[in-house]
Symmetry: C2
C-alpha cells in the first residue's frame, strides 16, 4: 500500500487517521498498526514520519493548535477593540471544536492521557495560544477597556479552562438536548466580558476571607 | 504482610497509597503491585477490595469527591447569600487542591487518563459537585442577586473548568514563582462574581456575530 514517497500528503493522511483512531479507541488503547490501516499505509511507513505513538500525538496537537492559532490570527486582523478581539477568540475556539468532533475529543480528552506529554513536553503551541489571549487582556487593561487589577496570564488560563471544559461537555454529548453551541457561545462571551470590564467591585469584596 | 482482616483502615491505606503512586508514575504506568508495596500489603489483598486498577481510580475519585462535597456542604452551613456561597465553594475547591498536592495531580491530570472512566462511568460525585454550584446560581438568579439570563448548569460547568485548569496550573508548578494561590483565589472569586452579577450588558453585545 505504501508508495514509499515522503510527502506531506502522506504525513497529513496519517495524522488525520490518527485523530479518528484516537477519538474512537482512546490514545492508550490505540495501536500504531490501526492508524496505519486507517491511513491506508504500511505499518513501517508511519515510522518514516514519527518516532512513536507519543510523537504522533504531539505532532497532531502541534499541527491542530497551529491551525487554531492561524485561524484566530486571521480573524483578529484589522480588529482593534480588545473586547471584540476576545469575542473573536472565544468564537474561533468553539467553532473549531464544533466543526471537528474527533479533533475536539482528541484535544479535550485524549491529550491529557499522556502523562509524558503533560509533564515533559514543552508545550509551545499552547503557550502561543495563551499568549494571544493574555496579550489581548493586557492591551485592554492598558487602554482601560478592561479592569486595571486583572492578571492577564492567569485569566487567559482561566478562559482556556472554561472553553475546554464546555467543549468537552458539548462534545461528549452530555448536554446534547440541553444547551446548543450558539447559546453556549453567546453566554460565555457575555460572561467573560462582564468579568473583565471595569466598574465597581462586587459588593462585600472585602468580606472574602483569606485563603488559609 | 497482609493480615487478611477486611477493614476500612486497610482499604483507606490502599487508596492513599494509590494516590501517591498515580501522582508519581501516572495512572497508565502504575502497576497494582506498586500500589500494594506502597500500602505495605500483599498484591492479592488489593483484590479483596478492588476489582481492577480502574476500580481503584473510580473509588479514589468517589471518596475524594465526597470529601470535597462534604467540606463544601459544611462550609456552606448557615450561609444564605448566594454570592457568599459561591465565594465559599471557590475557596473550598482551591484549598483542598492546595493542601493535597498528590490528590490534585490525580484529580486534574490522571483522572482524564482513563477513557473508560470518561466515557462509560456514570460520574455521580461529579454531578453532585456540579449540582451544588448550579443550585447556588439558580437561587441567586431567582432572588435577583445574579443575572436573570444566566444558565446555571452551563456556568457551573464553566466554573469547574476554570477551577480545574487553574489548579492544574498551580499544581504543575508552571506558575510557581508567578502567581500565588491566595492571589489566584481572590482574583477568580472577583472574576466569577462580576460575571454573574446583574447590571447593564457589556457594550456592543449586539455586535457579537452568530456562531456559524
Amino acid at each position: 500500500m505504501a508508495s514509499g514517497t515522503k510527502n506531506n500528503d502522506k504525513k497529513d493522511r496519517i495524522l488525520d487517521a490518527a485523530v479518528r483512531v484516537f477519538a474512537r479507541n482512546g490514545f492508550f488503547n490505540s495501536k500504531v498498526s490501526e492508524i496505519a490501516k486507517e491511513a491506508n499505509v504500511a505499518d513501517g511507513t508511519i515510522y518514516l514520519y514519527f518516532k512513536s505513538k507519543d510523537d504522533i500525538l504531539i505532532s497532531l496537537f502541534e499541527e491542530k493548535m497551529s491551525q487554531i492559532i492561524l485561524q484566530m490570527t486571521e480573524n483578529l486582523r484589522g480588529v482593534s477593540d480588545p473586547r471584540e478581539k476576545l469575542r473573536i477568540c472565544i468564537r474561533t475556539h468553539l467553532e473549531i471544536m464544533k466543526e471537528n468532533h474527533d479533533l475536539a475529543v482528541v484535544i479535550t480528552v485524549e491529550l491529557r492521557q499522556s502523562a509524558k506529554f503533560m509533564k515533559e513536553y514543552d508545550n509551545r503551541p499552547f503557550s502561543r495560544y495563551l499568549k494571544i489571549l493574555s496579550d489581548i487582556l493586557q492591551e485592554g487593561k492598558q487602554s482601560r477597556v478592561f479592569r486595571a487589577d486583572l492578571t492577564p496570564g492567569m485569566l487567559a488560563r482561566a478562559l482556556f479552562g472554561m472553553l475546554d471544559e464546555l467543549s468537552l461537555w458539548l462534545v461528549m454529548g452530555a448536554a446534547k438536548n440541553k444547551v446548543d453551541w450558539n447559546k453556549a457561545h453567546k453566554e460565555l462571551t457575555e460572561f467573560f466580558l462582564r468579568a473583565v470590564s471595569p466598574g465597581e467591585p462586587t459588593q462585600q469584596e472585602n468580606s472574602v476571607p483569606d485563603s488559609r
